[in-house]
């Protein structure tokens, strides 16, 4: 295998919103490389639709404290409140900064940035839905990704496109760099770098029905987990209420923000029963549970009673065209329904990882539950857990998270690089990885141990046993399945033995991360004997603040998972019963 060595001060792994925002901050102050397995503009940030919240008060009175209250309440009180304060306070400048860099937000008549309503966002601590989400039609993420990439182009940031990072080098507890695989050639690249940020996005591909891209396989969290770094709050995975039936393609909450209504098979607006005050705009965990309950009680529509309807027919053609053009096009393209005239079949879809690599508010990675910092390693965006989303993220808070904490990751890299000296990485640093790849290539291929077979069983079983409602029984069952899949993975084989664009090889390596993400999700969920936010235990239906107002830290312990806990940092808002 050809091995090529590079020397940088800092490396950012991932070129979605979080990685690009970090790059803009760090690039002027160091020799920086952004390494990304996709071309930057293909990152899944580009799929985000509805908006990015900030208390700009462009439409009505608002202030960041209300935003913070909603975020904490939405998190079911698991978010760390000092981090939430940072998120909501810095939101305003972050949106303005993006606008200054050219982001084409939709506008109000007076020329200011337009804002819309979104689930769980309210004025005056719950009084009424708030106009807080800044948006560009229903392609806000696309505009953020494009704007940040454009800014990077204007700054001349160095990119390694279609390079996949497969390993990190940490010697004596200090970061030395990463090892990447060049997709087009199969060459191995050693990147010396004393500051490394992981911004690799989410891992929705552990489930069968998901709004996530094929590429969202938890690479950053997986690489660190395999090195002994814990993963935080993995039991909290968000299911978005409105994925297109069976396909999982997302129909943004903006659809309900603009007035869309969920209906069961009888046409009943069932959310009136579950969240009388804000109804269809309740937070996602509640709406997804409501849909799952309607379906299990036989109120679902269709021959199998397994979906509900998202009804936009009363919004009028003009609103749909102006404000929801893309998502209504998805419906036309994939299910051949005209949303102006007909309600859309939807079901909850695996959407967002609240959990991930534990960090402090400066994006510094923590190596244990007592907050020890791993020098030189940072994470931001969906791969990280700060935690600002706690047990349930509010819509529009992730696009915000990626820019606020992406920037902080960049700043932390600058601080670290300016106070430390470059360190050599030895020429044999890639040995572990080259051995792993050679082993995969040498093994004879057998269908039983093929990547798609194992992955399909993983996704089907996670969907069945570890989705919206969980029980001790379902999680125990899934633990056994995962052990079996892990055994089979030890013998995984591939048929492509070539060097050029061998994506089968990369899918095999990604599958291991998916197994890691599933193991930690299931183990954390099994241990948490309460229901909070997105984690609903049918056998422990109450929230239990006495015992469980704490974050889970899941460590790799041989083939099993070991758990430790860290107390939640409270602030202005005492945990209260969560009603809407």
């Amino acid at each position: 295998m050809k091995i090529i060595k590079h020397s940088f001060d800092g490396v950012i792994v991932g070129a979605g919103g979080a990685g690009l925002r970090a790059a803009i901050e760090a690039a002027p102050h160091m020799k920086l490389a952004v390494i990304t397995k996709l071309y930057p503009t293909r990152s899944h940030t580009g799929a985000a639709q509805g908006g990015m919240s900030a208390a700009l008060a462009n439409v009505e009175e608002d202030n960041w404290n209300w935003h913070a209250f909603d975020t904490v309440k939405g998190s079911d009180y698991l978010a760390d409140q000092p981090a939430v304060d940072i998120l909501c306070k810095e939101a305003i400048d972050s949106v303005v900064e993006l606008e200054h860099w050219g982001l084409p937000f939709s506008r109000l008549e007076n020329g200011k940035i337009a804002q819309r309503r979104f689930g769980g966002h309210t004025v005056k601590e719950g009084e009424a839905p708030a106009f807080r989400a800044c948006y560009a039609a229903d392609r806000t993420g696309h505009m953020i990704l494009q704007t940040l990439y454009q800014k990077c182009v204007s700054m001349g940031v160095t990119f390694f496109d279609e390079f996949q990072v497969l390993d990190i080098k940490i010697d004596d507890g200090v970061c030395r760099g990463v090892i990447a695989y060049e997709v087009a050639t199969g060459d191995i690249h050693i990147f010396e770098a004393r500051a490394v940020t992981f911004a690799t996005g989410g891992f929705g591909k552990i489930y069968k029905v998901s709004s996530n891209a094929h590429s969202l396989t938890g690479d950053g969290p997986g690489i660190l987990y395999q090195k002994g770094i814990p993963l935080e709050d993995m039991e909290f995975y968000q299911f978005h209420p409105t994925g297109i039936y069976r396909l999982g393609i997302l129909l943004s909450e903006a659809a309900r923000g603009e007035g869309g209504i969920l209906r069961n098979k009888d046409g009943e607006r069932f959310m009136e029963r579950y969240a009388p005050s804000i109804k269809d705009l309740a937070p996602r965990d509640m709406v997804s549970r409501a849909i799952a309950t309607e379906i299990s009680e036989g109120n679902g529509a269709g021959p199998n009673n397994d979906f509900v309807y998202l009804d936009l027919t009363h919004l009028g053609a003009e609103t749909i065209k102006q404000k929801l053009p893309d998502i209504t096009d998805f419906v036309r393209t994939y299910v051949k329904i005209e949303p102006i005239n007909e309600p859309i079949p939807v079901q909850p879809t695996a959407h967002y990882a609240m959990g991930g690599i534990p960090t402090d508010v400066n994006a510094r990675v923590l190596s244990d539950a007592s907050g020890t910092i791993l020098p030189g390693v940072y994470s931001a965006g969906e791969s990280a857990c700060v935690s600002v989303h706690g047990a349930n993220r509010l819509g529009t808070n992730s696009l915000l998270d990626i820019v606020v904490f992406g920037k902080r990751a960049g700043q932390s890299m600058v601080d670290y690089v300016s106070s430390t000296k470059p360190m050599e990485l030895s020429d044999n640093a890639a040995e572990d990885l080259t051995n792993k790849i050679e082993k995969l290539i040498e093994k004879d291929h057998s269908l039983e141990f093929s990547v798609p077979r194992i992955r399909e069983e993983l996704q089907d079983s996670m969907e069945e046993n570890a989705k919206i409602f969980r029980t001790e029984e379902s999680l125990e069952k899934q633990t056994k399945i995962l052990t079996d899949l892990r055994d089979r993975y030890q013998n995984v084989t591939i048929s492509d033995k070539g060097k050029v664009f061998n994506t089968e090889l990369l899918e095999a390596i990604e599958l291991e991360y998916l197994l890691d993400m599933s193991d930690t999700t299931v183990a954390s969920a099994l241990h948490r004997k309460e229901s909070r936010g997105a984690h609903s235990r049918v056998d422990h239906v109450e929230r239990d603040d006495e015992n469980w107002l704490k974050h889970s830290f899941a460590f790799k312990n041989g083939e099993s998972v070991k758990l430790e806990y860290k107390n939640v940092e409270l602030g202005n808002y005492e945990p209260k019963e969560r009603k809407y």
């Binding site: 996709l38 071309y39 503009t41 293909r42 990152s43 899944h44 580009g46 799929a47 949106v95 303005v96 606008e99 200054h100 860099w101 050219g102 084409p104 937000f105 939709s106 506008r107 109000l108 008549e109 007076n110 020329g111 200011k112 940035i113 560009a136 392609r139 696309h142 505009m143 494009q146 454009q150 800014k151 182009v153 204007s154 087009a184 891209a213 094929h214 590429s215 396909l247 393609i249 893309d326 998805f330 393209t333 994939y334 299910v335 291929h445 093929s450 990547v451 798609p452 591939i494 048929s495 492509d496 070539g498 060097k499 050029v500 664009f501 061998n502 994506t503 089968e504």
Partner: protein, 231 residues
């Protein structure tokens, strides 16, 4: 139903040139062309190479030629195309393997047109104002996902690969018509060049190829017209 799919395969490590391979796949009429490619890759030949990520037409990874026309494999359903389904890489860019082409020159052209907002005036603490009408002038071209379907369907680009191509002009348009931008003149100077907008022969292939429904030819015409105003 069974569907016959022909894919133009090429592996630089074993083949001197491309060749067609035929696959008979069990498929649902509502499936995407991308799902068919996955069936081949996952259950028949793992070495088949193609790019994909989002699977719903927003990331721009999987532009390819299906039955002679450029499209995103994830945006077209089996029932919408005639069989046998013929799938080839987009044209005019060097093939790396199977359906994957080298995109370097495509992104180089994009970067040439200064695809970023230029405005050195002090913006103040809040957003710059822009009326909905001004915002609307460049709405269409903000939608571009850099998939290259337009550029690689352009007969001028096939014969002269130095031509910046429709995608780059679309991205120039995005800024030229943005009331907040101050560098239109520089961009238009670049596009006045021999390899710029005037190479366009209004074949309209780009407009029909664009999976985002951007009026590409119109954007090029807008830019040409604007170019005549600078001197």
């Amino acid at each position: 139903m069974d569907v016959k799919v022909n894919i133009l395969r090429y592996n630089p490590e074993t083949d001197r040139k491309g060749h067609w391979e035929e696959y008979i796949l069990e498929a649902d009429p509502d499936e995407r062309i991308l799902d068919l490619l996955h069936k081949v890759k996952w259950f028949d030949d793992g070495s088949l190479a193609f790019r994909r990520s989002c699977a719903h037409g927003v990331c721009g990874s999987d532009a390819m030629v299906v039955n002679g026309e450029n499209m995103l494999a994830c945006q077209v359903l089996v029932k919408e195309v005639s069989t046998p389904i013929k799938i080839e890489p987009i044209r005019g860019l060097p093939v790396i393997k199977d359906l994957v082409v080298n995109m370097d020159s495509f992104f180089d052209s994009y970067k040439k047109v200064m695809p970023f907002l230029v405005n050195d005036s002090e913006p103040g603490e809040r957003e710059r104002l822009q009326s909905p009408e001004d915002r609307d002038r460049f709405e269409d071209t903000t939608k571009c996902i850099l998939c290259a379907a337009c550029t690689t369907s352009c007969p001028v680009f096939w014969t002269a690969d130095t031509y910046v191509g429709p995608a780059a002009i679309v991205n120039a348009h995005r800024f030229v018509f943005d009331s907040r931008d101050n560098a239109s003149k520089q961009r238009l100077e670049i596009l006045k060049d021999v390899d710029g907008a005037f190479r366009c022969r209004t074949a309209f292939n780009c407009t029909s190829a664009c999976p985002r429904g951007i009026q590409v030819t119109k954007a090029i015409e807008d830019v040409k017209r604007e170019t005549l105003t600078i001197n």
